[in-house]
């Protein structure tokens, strides 16, 4: 199996220099993908919203440096400081892709309803063509109502908007002249070129463990990015997802299921995830990587030994 990494994009890890060097180190260490998070804007507090990741990944929370910009164990959205840099994922992905040649580059997750489907489709198609088909769009519906308000997008409609966007973008990526007739978006005979390098377009992986998120995977997506999925629940939940996918008339075997894990994950747990149907992993780190070259190289060498190589043999 393969494992990717989430380590760039926030605070000291949002600089172009850190991202370039860390993605090159990740590629050399054999990581399969490199993932970037998304908050277009931030607020000092989120009184109208409920942070959905308070449960963590369903595994033991790893030891984290107290000044890591994102604390996995916190029960509210826990950016230590709202004035830290939080890079735009699409531009960051471009920067990362330009520095590498084989590693896949993805968002985990980009808040889809906060973007425009035609603009985003064109951006990602351009990028996918530039890097010969290495882009993955990890997309979520979003949880922070305050962020939606700032962007002028109706929070209560985010699920429907997201569904329309996925269909609209796939049309733009696939068809010679693209037409779409939805409630929120409509266009007729629009030419959107370049097309992505990958046939069928940029793969869309949906994040979230709610029923609507799983329905979206079953009906529309190319993969799933579960975060809070404890290992003992994984078989039942994935079996259900596959049944939903079959019910939607699609082949569940074509889905890529990429589970977020921490560095503390044991090989035994990873095997159990594999047996439950997980196809690949994404190592979430924050605060673990030294910024200097030698420290970074050492860290990636360790990860290669304890994670990447053993997982390759799974």
């Amino acid at each position: 199996m393969r494992i990717g990494i989430t380590c760039g994009g926030i605070g000291p890890y949002a600089s172009g220099d850190f991202m370039r060097r860390s993605v090159q180190a990740a590629e050399r260490a054999g990581f399969a993908h490199y993932w970037i998070p998304d908050h277009v804007v931030l607020f000092a507090s989120y009184p109208e919203s409920k942070y959905p990741y308070a449960g963590g990944s369903g595994q033991k929370t790893p030891d984290q440096n107290p000044d890591a910009p994102l604390q996995f164990g916190d029960d509210t959205f826990a950016l230590v400081d709202t004035t830290v840099a939080f890079a735009d994922p699409v531009v960051a992905m471009t920067w990362l892709a330009a520095a590498t040649t084989t590693i896949e580059i993805g968002s985990n997750v980009l808040i889809l309803p906060q973007r425009h489907p035609i603009i985003l489709a064109k951006e990602l198609a351009t990028l996918d063509a530039c890097c010969y088909g290495r882009i993955i769009l990890g997309a979520g519906a979003g949880w922070a109502k305050e962020d939606f308000d700032a962007l002028g997008v109706d929070f209560t409609k985010r699920g429907k908007i997201m569904n329309e966007m996925i269909s609209a973008m796939k049309t733009l990526w696939r068809d010679r002249a693209s037409s779409f007739e939805g409630e929120y978006f409509r266009f007729k005979d629009a030419f959107c070129y370049p097309k992505p390098a990958r046939p069928g377009g940029v793969p869309i992986f949906v994040g979230g463990e709610s029923k609507p998120a799983m329905r979206r995977v079953a009906q529309l997506a190319d993969g799933w990015l579960p975060y809070n999925l404890p290992v003992e629940n994984a078989p039942a939940v994935i079996a259900e997802l596959k049944a939903m996918t079959r019910d939607a008339g699609r082949d569940p075997k074509s889905l890529r299921l990429c589970k977020i894990v921490y560095e503390t994950a044991t090989l035994d747990d990873l095997k159990r995830y594999r047996d439950a149907g997980i196809t690949e992993f994404n190592l979430a780190t924050n605060g673990d990587i030294p910024i200097d070259d030698a420290g970074m190289e050492m860290k990636f060498r360790t990860w290669k030994e304890i994670l990447v190589d053993p997982i390759a043999k799974l």
Partner: protein, 314 residues
């Protein structure tokens, strides 16, 4: 004086390989900036719109091969085939910036009212930090009603939206905690980080020669990107622009005025533009460059001698 180049982004010049190679070659040849065009989607025909660039740049047209994707002399929008790829400009700039270290990267022009300013501000601020402050945002209000219809943006409100978007983006770029209350965009106490490298934000240069565009330059712009400005009119028009800028309570001497020219422009003409107040040039090229790396390098070496060198002495 300094000169930049517009040569990437359309047709055979839209590939990542071409953009990378030509941006590097441009930097090596001494070009100051590298500009990307924008059409988010294209239509087969534009019956509801008037193409505003039918007059060209106001100079003698250069020789162009028949299969150049953009024909400068045509009186309708003349992308030879709507299926010619036309890159997203933000991704194109990021790709070019990642391949270079001193070249400024810009849009000429990005159709601002088709984008969400909060998202665009974040994208460009991220790129500006990655590239150590090399991003220029050239904007226009757009002319193709059909493209506005496809993106769901109101063509009749494009001027107002452009004005608001510039002010909103500056609030996000320069305020520690940003607020803006406009007709189309409004947000209160949002954190948008990273900030651009330059304290005053990313320079916003405005395209177009209409009175409305010139008013926008005078009131809101960091510069102007004139295309159709014949040399014998430049003195009078720029004097008028400067008077309008003074009337708006701003210093016209800080404006960057970047005139588009063709590769056949003679130094004497460029001197007259300089005397009229143009501060730098942008050479528009379509169909002149080969797409192989050796050919690209050879052509740029030729331009270094025939154009960049002579312009530097002006």
């Amino acid at each position: 004086m300094k000169i930049g180049i517009t040569c990437g982004g359309i047709g055979p010049y839209a590939s990542g390989a071409f953009i990378r190679a030509s941006a590097k070659a441009a930097e090596l040849a001494g070009f100051a900036h590298y500009w990307m065009p924008d059409h988010v989607v294209q239509l087969a025909a534009y019956p509801a719109s008037t193409y505003p660039y039918a007059q060209g740049s106001g100079q003698a047209l250069p020789e162009q091969s028949n299969d150049a994707p953009l024909q400068f002399g045509d009186d309708t929008y003349a992308n030879v085939d709507p299926r010619n790829p036309l890159i997203d400009p933000v991704i194109g700039m990021a790709w070019a910036a990642a391949a270079t270290s001193t070249l400024e990267v810009g849009t000429n022009i990005l159709v601002l009212p088709q984008r969400n300013p909060v998202v665009l501000a974040k994208e460009l601020a991220s790129l500006d930090t990655f590239s150590s402050g090399r991003v220029l945002l050239g904007v226009g209000v757009g002319w193709a009603k059909e493209e506005f219809d496809a993106t769901g943006a109101d063509f009749s409100l494009r001027g107002k939206r452009t004005d608001e978007a510039i002010i909103a983006m500056r609030a996000l770029w320069t305020q520690a905690v940003s607020s803006f209350a406009g007709t189309f965009d409004r947000f209160t106490d949002v954190y948008s980080y990273p900030k651009p490298c330059r304290r005053e934000g990313i320079p916003v240069l405005i395209g177009g020669e209409s009175k409305a565009a010139m008013r926008r330059v005078a009131q809101l712009g960091d510069g102007w990107l004139p295309y159709n400005l014949p040399i014998d009119q430049a003195g009078r028009v720029i004097a008028e622009l400067k008077a309008m800028t003074r009337d708006a309570g701003r210093n016209p001497e800080m404006l960057r005025i970047v005139k588009i020219i063709y590769s056949n422009a003679c130094p004497d003409d460029l001197r007259r533009y300089r005397d009229a107040g143009v501060t730098e040039f942008n050479m528009a090229s379509s169909g002149e460059l080969p797409t192989d790396e050796a050919g690209i390098q050879a052509k740029f070496a030729e331009w270094r001698d025939s154009i960049v060198g002579p312009v530097e002495k002006i």
